[in-house]
Structure formats: structure tokens, C-alpha cells
Amino acid sequence: MTTARRSWAPIGLLSYPTLMLGVFFLIPFGIMFATSFFERDPIAFYRPAFVFDQYARLATSLFIDHLLFSLYLAVFVSVISIGLAFPFTYLLTRMRLRTQTLWLVFVLSVLSLSEVIVGFSWSMLLSRTAGLSNVLVWLGILEEAVAWAPSFGAVVVGYLYLTLPYTVLILYPPLSRIDPELTEAARTLGASPLRAFFNVVIPSTRTPIIASMILVFVFTLGVFLIPNLLGRPRHWTLSVLITDQAVYQSNPPFAAALAVFLLATSAALILITLWLSRRKRVATT
């Protein structure tokens, strides 16, 4: 039975990633999911049980507020990230190949910096005593040095620094594949260069735009050091609270419940986005 034998090959190939995903994602997630139903024990961290106490605690306005803020921040950062990275990457793909390579190496090297270093560097750069505002004072633009961190703006800057390289790297392949004759065709039909960009370049890269927005969104939800270092407590995201509960408050069940809740909410948002974008495509097709 050759057909039967052949059908085993893809299963064999798929079993490795399936195994890895199972061992390193599903099992830890399962443990966390189970933990979220446990009871808290101040001495032994937690006691196996099946109670909804932790989820009930989520309904307090404090956590709802932080959840909404986290989602708002993630959406905000992913929109700004695309807004900055898209024109940059588009212009980059129009440059000479050597220039492109140098820029990509630079962008990649930013990824080698850890979140801790990025966070501390920005808190320094935005501080009153040693920050960039001193340069502006020296240039005569500002009267006296000011502290830009902690603030919402500082948190956004820190996030953008982390997300921009990813966005550029996701957008680069599809943008460099765009046929330059497409925009030229639009121009011969009366579209100004700017209009051709909005009419042709952006619509033909819808899928990568949505993909990179989702990636930045998910990535941003997981970051917990930046709001700690660059924000005030009211700028703390759910990730910060999860760390706080798990590490400082010694309450793993509640941290697990928060994590499950965050995961469920973001998964739901992503599914809605994908569904909307598919429906849009079907409508235009």
C-alpha cells in the first residue's frame, strides 16, 4: 500500500514541531491554566483546588482598568510602529542595495540589546539630570532641564524602540517585492507620487501590514520592564501586575489567572482582526 506509506511522511515531518510546541508551550500553559484555579497558600504559595476565587478578583475595577490600559497601549504602539516603520522601510527598499544592507544590519543589531538595557538607557536619556533635555538647554531651545520620564510618552518611546526593528523586518520582504512599475503606472494615470503610495503601495501590502500589527500587539502585551522603568504606576500594564503578583506578592494562582485572562482577551482581539480583514478581502474580491 504505497498510498498509506506515503501519507506517513508528512506526519513524521510535522511530529517534531508538534512535539516542541507541546513540550515548551502547551504543557507550561496547561500548568499555568490549572494553577489559576488553585487556592492561595501564604506559606506554600498555593494549594491544589478547583475554585474561581482568582477569576472573581479580576472583576475589580483596578484590574479592568489595567487591562484596558494594556490593550490601549498595545494598539497605540502597534499603530505608531507601523506608521513609522512603513514609510521608512518603503524608502529603504528604493535605495541602493549596499545602503539597504547597512541599514538592515543596524536594525538587526538593535535587537541584540536586552529589554533591561533599553529601558535603563531611555530612563537615563529622558531624565532631568543626565538626559537629552540638557542638550536642548545648551542649544538654547529649553530654559531649564526637564524630566521626560517617568511618563506615558517615555513608555511609548521605550516600546517603539523594541518593536520598530521587528516591524521593519516583517515589512521589508513584501515591500522590496513590490513592482516599481505599479507606482509608475499610477503616476502615468495622473496620480501624484504621494497619492500613488496611498492608492497602490499600501493596499497591495495589506496582509503584511496586518501581520506586523498583530505581532507588535502581542509583543507589546508581553513586555513588563519598560512600564516599570519608564512609567508611573498608573502606566503599569497587566504584564507588570502579573510579575508583581507572581514574584513580589507570592500569589501564583492569581498571577496565573491574570495571564490566562490577558491571553484570552488578546487572542479574541486577534481573531476579530483576522476575521474583519478576511471579510473585507472577500467583499473586495
Binding site: 502615468t188 495622473g190 497591495s204
Partner: protein, 350 residues
């Protein structure tokens, strides 16, 4: 629609001259072909006419109007690109009406115009189809319809048929030419395919290394090539090196030939090349003495259907002769024959 006029148009890319001092006038309603090998500057010249490339020197005029400084989107041209460049996110009707949408034409009018143009390219009723659903030939027609949607002054085509297979390409050449004549629009077609140029053009502009080698009707270019490059590039030719003896006589490889017309400015003893098209070369069996007759031996015969090709070695000089099948002489490989290079078919080139 207008006369297209180029005066001293040049384009430098760094140290290389992609287009070198081109003067050209395309009369209203005519189709000119820019013909040449790749890298000869024909596409760059076309892009300058389109406004997609800025000339380093010279002026471009549509009719009385100098458009040299005008950007592409204000120039009023229609262009068909090599990749066709149809917008993948728009359907056929939206592609064709894109230019009208930019102008703010109402939807009803846009739809009517798209329908009219699809009729013109003989593809009615496909407005709502999507680009990936179309065949190569259909995409071609949509690209042509889109380029004509705004009633452009000049219609530019950059190797638009190169992606099609040979048979469809021949059909489209004839169809596109008929369409161009029907619309009566001043047009420029860039191609490296001399057959395409001969099929479609009112005038052929042969280019090499950024310079115009010759401008003329297809027949002029073929019958009276201006130089060795044109003679070689357009069709095939017997190119015989020799020198001028006196008056209308040239000496080629020890044979003296009479030529009907001798270009001006050549002195006796000047080195020249004589070009004779293979189908002009007469061939008969046996050794005969006649004017411009050369004796030789057949070294190769091939019958390609529309004609029979003979190669004859005339004491070191190889001559190719193409004979239609019904005029085929009774000769075999290795036979001694006489080839005749008619005086009116011998073109003397520098």
C-alpha cells in the same frame, strides 16, 4: 493627440551616456518603434518621454507644448508597462477607470468609459473580474484599455508583448496595430524584436549605445540600412568587406562588383562593406559568367519551409542565399554553382 518632438535629448547615468543627443519627430497619429539590443537606451528614452526619467539635456515637446519639466502625472500620456503593472487589489473595471477616479469623474461615467474601452479591446463584459483570473492576452488588453482611458496625447508601450508566447504575440501585434490605427493616436513602441517593429511601425528608430542609428519606414530600414549595425540587426545580411575601385565599382575579395548606387563622400580606395540580403542573392547550377556573378561550392543546405537556405563558399568568401521552395535550383551539397549579387541589391556601407 499630437506631434511628438525630441530635440537633443540626452540622459547620463554617472559617466555612462544612456541616451546621447537624440533628435526625433513622430508625426501625429503615427506609430514609431524604438528598436535595438538591450542596453541601447530605448527604454530610457521612452521613460523620459513618459516623464518617469528626467533628461540630462534637451527638450521634449507634445505638439507646441514643452513638457520637459512636467512630471509624469501631468503629462497626459498613456503607458503600457513591460510587467503590465495592473493593480492587483482592483478589478478590471477599477483598473481601467483608475485615472478617471483620480480626476474625480462620477462613478456612472467611469463605468461607462470602462465598458466602452473593454469593447474597444474586444473583451466586453469582464468589468468585475479580478486580475489573477485573466489570461496573459486578456491582461494585455486590460493594460492597453487602462492606458487609453484618459484619451492621452501620446501612447507609450514598453515591450508590452514580451511576456506572451510566440503565437499570441503575433496575433496581438496585428491587433494592437489595428487598434492604434483606429484610435489614430501618436504612439511609441519599444522592442528588441525586429519582426515586431516591421509588423507594427510607421517608422522605425534603430538605436545602439544611446544613439539613433537610422530612422525610416520598415522597408527603408530593411532595403537601405544606413550602416553595418543596422544591416546586421535587421534581418540577416551578407556583409562583404572590400574597397571602392572607381565610380560604381567595388572590389570584394578579389571580385569586382558593380553597384547601382554609390553613397556620396567615398573616394577610390576607401574601405567599405557591401550588404546583400540573402533573398536577393541569385543562385544557379554550374559555372556561368554573368555580371556580379561569383563561382563557388555549396557547403550547407537547409530547408526551413518558407525558403531554402544555401551557403556557398566562393574561394574563401561565404555567401548565404535564400530561395523560395518553388524556385529551388537543382543542386546538391558540394556542387559548383554561380551566385549572383544583383547590382541594385548591393548596399555600400561605411
Amino acid at each position: 493627440m499630437a506631434v511628438l518632438n525630441l530635440a537633443g535629448v540626452s540622459k547620463d547615468f554617472g559617466a555612462t551616456k544612456a541616451v546621447d543627443d537624440v533628435d526625433l519627430e513622430v508625426p501625429e497619429g503615427q506609430l514609431a518603434c524604438f528598436l535595438g539590443p538591450s542596453g541601447c537606451g530605448k527604454t530610457t528614452l521612452l521613460r523620459m518621454i513618459a516623464g518617469l526619467e528626467e533628461p540630462s539635456a534637451g527638450t521634449i515637446r507634445f505638439g507646441e507644448k514643452d513638457v520637459t519639466q512636467q512630471p509624469a502625472h501631468r503629462r497626459g500620456i498613456g503607458m503600457v508597462f513591460q510587467s503590465l503593472a495592473l493593480f492587483p487589489h482592483l478589478d478590471v473595471g477599477e483598473n481601467i477607470a483608475y485615472g478617471l477616479r483620480i480626476r474625480g469623474t462620477p462613478k456612472q461615467e467611469r463605468d461607462n468609459r470602462a465598458r466602452e474601452l473593454l469593447g474597444l479591446v474586444q473583451m466586453p463584459g469582464v468589468e468585475r473580474r479580478h486580475i489573477p483570473q485573466l489570461s496573459g492576452g486578456q491582461r494585455q488588453r486590460v493594460a492597453i484599455a487602462r492606458a487609453l482611458a484618459l484619451d492621452p496625447q501620446v501612447f507609450l508601450l514598453d515591450e508590452p508583448l514580451s511576456a506572451l508566447d510566440a503565437k499570441l504575440r503575433e496575433e496581438m501585434q496585428v491587433e494592437l496595430r489595428m487598434l492604434q490605427q483606429r484610435v489614430g493616436i501618436t504612439s511609441i513602441l519599444v522592442t528588441h524584436d525586429q519582426r515586431e517593429a516591421m509588423t507594427m511601425a510607421d517608422m522605425v528608430v534603430v538605436m545602439k549605445d544611446g544613439q539613433v542609428q537610422q530612422v525610416g519606414t520598415p522597408l527603408e530600414i530593411y532595403r537601405r540600412p544606413a550602416n553595418v549595425f543596422v544591416a546586421e540587426f535587421i534581418g540577416s545580411s551578407n556583409l562583404l568587406k572590400g574597397e571602392i575601385v572607381a565610380g560604381d565599382r567595388v572590389q570584394v575579395h578579389g571580385h569586382t562588383l558593380r553597384v547601382e548606387s554609390m553613397p556620396h563622400g567615398f573616394a577610390s580606395g576607401a574601405e567599405i562593406t557591401v550588404s546583400v540580403r540573402p533573398e536577393e542573392v541569385g543562385l544557379c547550377s554550374g559555372e556561368e559568367t554573368r555580371e556580379n556573378g561569383l563561382q563557388g561550392t555549396i557547403t550547407f543546405i537547409r530547408d526551413v519551409g518558407q525558403n531554402v537556405e544555401y551557403r556557398i563558399d566562393c574561394s574563401g568568401l561565404e555567401i548565404t542565399s535564400n530561395v523560395p521552395p518553388r524556385d529551388k535550383p537543382d543542386v546538391q551539397l558540394g556542387d559548383r554553382v554561380t551566385v549572383e549579387l544583383p547590382a541594385d541589391a548591393c548596399v555600400v556601407l561605411a
